[in-house]
Each structure stands twice: as structure tokens, then as C-alpha cells.
Symmetry: C2
Subunit: 358 residues, 2 copies
DNA sequence: TGCGGGGGTGCAAACATGTGCATTATAGCG
DNA sequence: CGCTATAATGCACATGTTTGCACCCCCGCA
């Protein structure tokens, strides 16, 4: 029946108990300096009065907030959702709070977010935004905020910045080699220009796999969605449009930047009456849940999304504790489902037959 | 070239400028009490020294943290992802930070999270967890924390608790009536027991729609996944299993608790060789992105997910400002895609034909 | 010259907590 | 009986910021 709605402080308890606030503070932390009797009385009192320690005061004193800032480009991207889940899991276990912020790939906003994190004195930052530029990183470094990057390039000279990654280049290469092993030669690439780094790495893996197999490069097989596209939801539409534009080149398979683009491609095939995988094989990247549920289920490169998130958080905690920590590269797997098949004997999938009406 | 890595405070600036820290504080907030000359000099100095105000100290003083806690059951649920996006959007615009926590539908953990929010002195809480029980709410109320619930029941006696909702009952009714209008009579229901309230409401809408159409109730048409299932990802498997169990009852259509369950049902049909919508019509709920991308695209009840999130945050802000705020119900739409068709003339979809090999 | 007033600045308290040090009381021992 | 060691508690300061109030200085006016 308190009249004021101000939460109770140790001062309030001290007044009731007839001791000083220091005694209460010590009693609540079970300090042996306080006699057992008083300790128990105060603890009971705190319980009764509904005391909850004020973490902002503690943070001010301890110079540590037990929070980390997490920047992601989109929360609708199922890849990032899994990563965040991994981060959250470790964070909760360690008693630290996640400040989640969404940047929509807007550099302007990213700067604001980083400033906001600094004002709030987060203990560290995890970034899984696609194109953090050097400027932001320098900002973070200058502020002395430990930072872990997920699937991003790590600058050489930054002492408190680490990264967990996946080998985009090698993974792409493995995927394309699998298509080659199925007899495909005319293989397309559908990229995402708004993730410059990973797109470039996957594209390079694709190119080198072809080159090493003796397939002469054909630039018209390669499409990359414009970098201005900022929202995750655009990936599907991009995939559709790019696949349609790619068809006349006579490809028998496509390797896609990610599963979402691949789903777009698949959708275009459905609409154009192209049979997957009989006429066209499709390979994605990420292995998001959706990949299993489309028809046919997607062959794709599995990324250990939960582990990426978990390790990022673990590394960040170690960084905060000033332990030495190394950059890490986690392994991927090619998971073969039903969207890929041996290359058709006949000429490429150019003849469009109208889809049977239902 | 600071040696210490402690961020600069107004004290530090004061020392350099040869004034008191109060003067610096006022100067930085552009107080007319300070002479223009000094004000500008200090502002320039602050800039040079890389000063960033310490928000935790401010929070302590102002008794306001500009943070809100958000509890959701799962981040992988695309419905919640959109809701969170709406929340974030409004929050960022208002300069407040979102503390995101995931409960995995674990009551134990939810209590911990609410305590953690209280310790951190969040200004308010938004909950979109499926089965917050009275206990938690009482806790929040007793702490005097303004709270907005999304798609949850709002207790009558709680002054600082409001809700934004969708009319589950009416929406379900509308969906089932649509199926009835297509000539379906044997209509199944696939539910989710781990969302007791909304599941019950949707089930009731389903029941009443049938009853009002003069279709005699058949309890064997109704399946509800066990309440113990805690993870979002289980929805798909539940949908698959339940549909398979339902088939022998001779239904020609199913209304599903949400799109994810519906996708499970769809998947089961693909595997069992049942043509959708020719042999079986499927209706989902939520209208998540995925609903458009499966084949055939799902007919579903559209929930205004972004708006739910936005309004929740807006209402919370008003609540914090001690303005009067009303509970709200947002409208839904039935969006008809290609997973529904008139009821087949022939007997129900019982004859399973093997799926053609590919 | 003395006084009032106003512009400009500093002091100190407050927010809630933690902790080194001083202080008090008590008991034990020479 | 007095001194010292020890147990138990309070004082005061620190964290970084905001703000009411007091203060100082100078100018103008009587």
C-alpha cells in the first residue's frame, strides 16, 4: 500500500531497519562483516518490502551495464533470426541483456545506433549488418567498445574487434562443384548487390570453380540485384526477375546468393512452367527453415546459424573479460535435397511450356 | 591519445575548460544562463574531446531509462518478427531502446525476464508471449510498470495494462464461412495447444460457424497439438502429423491455427499425393510472407502485424506519459489465394494415390 | 560612495549503490 | 584496571548528471 510509486531503495529499508544504508547494502550481498542476525533480519525485510536492486545505479558504480548492442539489417531475414537466437541464448545464461536494433541497411541509421549504444554504455557490440564500413568500425574502436562481427571482414589494426565467419568462397566453390559433378556446364549465378562482401566472395567461388573445371566464363550467366535494394523481402522478387532474365542464356542450373533468392527463382520456374529439377537445378545458401518446405525442397549450403550467434556472444564475453580471443571460421555443409538433378541431355531449359491449368 | 580508456565525462571537460562541471552541463544543454562565449567554447571542446553523455547517469537522475522490455516466445516465428519490426520502428523514432527477450514459452524464464526488466528499470513492457499468466501480470502491476499486451487477454482490474488485439473469434468465423460458401461441409481444424487463448477463440469461431450453418459438429474433425510443444519449429511437424491423422475422417477442407501449421498440412499433402486444392482446401492464419511462396500460395487470414507492433509501442508511450489510453482491436482480412477451391463433387479426399516419382 | 540588481558561475544535493576507512563497543588478557 | 585486538557498524566518497540556490562581481543610479 505504498503511496508513492517509487521503487523501494536500500535507503528505505535502512530507515525501517534503523541502520545505515551501507549496512543494508552489505547485508543484502551477504557480507560476513554484518552479524548474522542483522543480515537475516534485513534480508527478510527486503523481501517483504518488495525490494529490487536498481541496476542502473549499480551500472553507474561498477562501470559495467551487462548489456550488449546487437545490430542487424533485418529481423525478417530467417538467417539473422537464428543468429539472434543463438546470441540471446548465451546472453541470457550469462545474465546480460541484448539491445536489439535494426538498421535496414541504412548507413545513416547505423551510425545513430552505434552512438546510441555508446551513450548507453553497452559492454560490447555484435554486428551482423551486411556492409558496415570502415568508418563505423573506427568509431567503435575509438570508443574502445569490444566488438564481434558476424560474416564480415575484420580490419587488421583493431585490437578489440574480432569476427566469426563462414568460408563463403570455399562454400560457394563446393556448391558449384557439386553442380558440375552432375554434368552441368551452363551454370548461372544470382547475386545480391546489397551484401557486397559476401556476394563478392560467393561469386568468386563460383567463378573459380567454373574456371578450374575448364568451363569458359560467360558473364551473361551472372546477375546481381542492385545494391540499392534495402529490404529483405525484396530478395524474393529479385530472384524471380533475375531468373527470368537469365533463362534465354541457356543455363541448366543456378547457384543463388541465398535461399530467399533461390525461392524467388523457384517461384519464377513455377510460373513459367519450368520443371525443377528436371529442366533446371537450383542451389541456395544458408539452409533456412523455409528451404525444406518449398517444393521441391532446396539443395543448399548449410550455415551453422545458431553456432554463429552463440560463438559471437561467447567471444564477446571473453573480449570483455580481457581474455585473448582468436577469430574463428565455422564449417558449412552442402545439404542435398531435391532441387538438383543431373543435367538434362537435351538442349537447355529454354522451351517454355505453359503450365497446366488447375 | 588518452591513456585511460574511461570515456570522457563533463568533469574532464570542466577541468580542461577551467570551469565547474555544472557550467559544462548547462553549456552542453544550451542553457541561456551561461554566456554565449563560454557556451560555444565548451561545446567545441566537448566535440574535440569526443564526449558522449552517459545515459546511465542521466537515467539514474531522471528516473527514466528510455528503454522498454519486449518479451516474445520465439524470434523464428515470422508473425512475431513482423510485430517486433513494428515495435522497433516506433521505438527508434522516439529514441527509446528495445530490450528483446525470448521466453521459449517457458513460464519459469518469463518470470526471470520480468524481474530482469524491473531491475533494469525499463519504462514499460510489451508482451507478445502466448500464455502469460495472471501471476506475471500481477507482478508487473505491483511494480507499477506500464504494460501493453499483444493478442492477449487484458485483466479488468489492472490500471496500467492495455492490449492491442485482433478479433480471433470473428476472423476464424469468417474463414470457415468462406469454406462453407465454397460448398465444403466436412471441415477440419488443426490447432496449437501451446497458445491456449487464441487457439480456443479460433476454435470457437470455427465451431460456431459450422453450427450456424447447420453442420452437425464432429469432434473427430478437430485436432490440437499438445500444449507441451514449446518451439515454433514444431508447428510444421505438428501440422503434418495432425493432417495425416485427420484424413480418414473424410474432410474436404481444413482451417489451421496459423500459416506454419498450414504449411505442415500442405507438406503432408505433397507427400501423400493429395492434390491441393482439388482434393483438399487449406486455410491458414496470420498471412506471413511464407504463405505467398509455397505452392499453391495459401489462402489465409491477414493480421496487420506491423500495425500491431506499432500501435503497441505507441500505446505504451502514451501510457508512460500518463495519458489516457484505450484497448484496441485491429481489423483482419481474409486473403484468398490458391489453396482453396470448391468442394469436390466426389467423395472426400481419402483415396491416396502414390505420388509420381521424379 | 554606497547600494541594488542582474548576469554569470560555483556549490551542493539528489538519484541508488558499493566500499575503504574510521569509529564504537566489547571482550580478553596482562 | 587499563590496554589492545576484534567484531560490528556508520561515515563519507565515488560513479556522472541535473538543477535550485547562493554567491560574486560589476554596473548604474541615487
Amino acid at each position: 500500500m505504498r503511496m508513492t510509486n517509487r521503487p523501494v531503495s536500500i535507503q528505505d529499508i535502512a530507515k525501517v531497519a534503523g541502520v545505515s544504508h551501507s549496512t543494508v547494502s552489505r547485508a543484502l550481498r551477504d557480507s560476513p562483516l554484518i552479524s548474522l542476525e542483522v543480515r537475516q533480519r534485513i534480508q527478510r525485510l527486503a523481501q517483504e518490502m518488495g525490494y529490487t536492486p536498481n541496476q542502473v545505479a549499480q551500472s553507474l558504480k561498477e562501470r559495467r551495464t551487462n548489456t550488449v548492442g546487437v545490430v542487424i539489417t533485418s529481423i525478417s531475414d530467417p538467417f539473422l533470426a537464428r543468429v539472434v537466437l543463438g546470441i540471446e541464448e548465451v546472453a541470457q545464461a550469462a545474465g546480460i541483456q541484448v539491445l536489439l536494433s535494426i538498421s535496414d541497411n541504412d548507413p545513416q541509421r547505423e551510425i545513430q545506433l552505434i552512438d546510441s549504444f555508446h551513450r548507453r554504455r553497452v559492454d560490447g557490440v555484435i554486428s551482423s549488418t551486411a556492409r558496415i564500413d570502415e568508418t563505423h568500425l573506427r568509431r567503435l574502436v575509438k570508443m574502445g567498445i569490444p566488438t564481434v562481427l558476424i560474416n564480415q571482414a575484420v580490419p587488421g589494426d583493431a585490437p578489440l574487434v574480432r569476427a566469426v565467419q563462414v568460408d563463403d568462397y570455399a562454400s560457394a566453390m563446393q556448391a558449384v562443384r557439386y553442380l558440375l559433378s552432375l554434368g552441368h556446364r551452363a551454370i548461372g549465378y544470382l547475386g545480391a548487390g546489397n551484401r557486397p562482401r559476401s556476394n563478392w566472395l560467393r561469386l568468386s567461388g563460383y567463378r573459380d570453380a567454373l574456371r578450374m573445371a575448364g568451363v569458359s566464363a560467360n558473364e551473361s550467366w551472372i546477375r546481381v540485384a542492385p545494391a540499392e535494394h534495402r529490404y529483405y523481402a525484396e530478395d524474393v522478387a529479385d530472384g524471380q526477375a533475375m531468373l527470368e532474365a537469365l533463362l534465354p542464356t541457356g543455363i541448366t542450373a543456378v547457384f543463388c546468393y541465398n535461399d530467399t533468392v533461390a525461392v524467388g527463382a523457384l517461384l519464377a520456374c513455377h510460373q513459367l512452367g519450368i520443371a525443377v529439377p528436371e529442366q533446371l537445378s537450383i542451389v541456395g545458401f544458408d539452409d533456412v527453415e523455409l528451404a525444406q518446405y518449398v517444393t521441391p525442397p532446396l539443395t543448399t549450403v548449410h550455415q551453422p546459424k545458431l553456432r554463429l550467434g552463440r560463438r559471437a556472444m561467447e567471444m564477446l564475453l571473453e573480449l570483455v573479460e580481457e581474455k585473448p580471443v582468436q577469430n574463428e571460421v565455422l564449417p558449412t555443409d552442402l545439404v542435398v535435397r531435391r532441387s538438383t538433378a543431373p543435367a538434362p541431355k537435351t538442349a537447355p531449359a529454354m522451351e517454355r511450356r505453359p503450365r497446366e491449368e488447375r
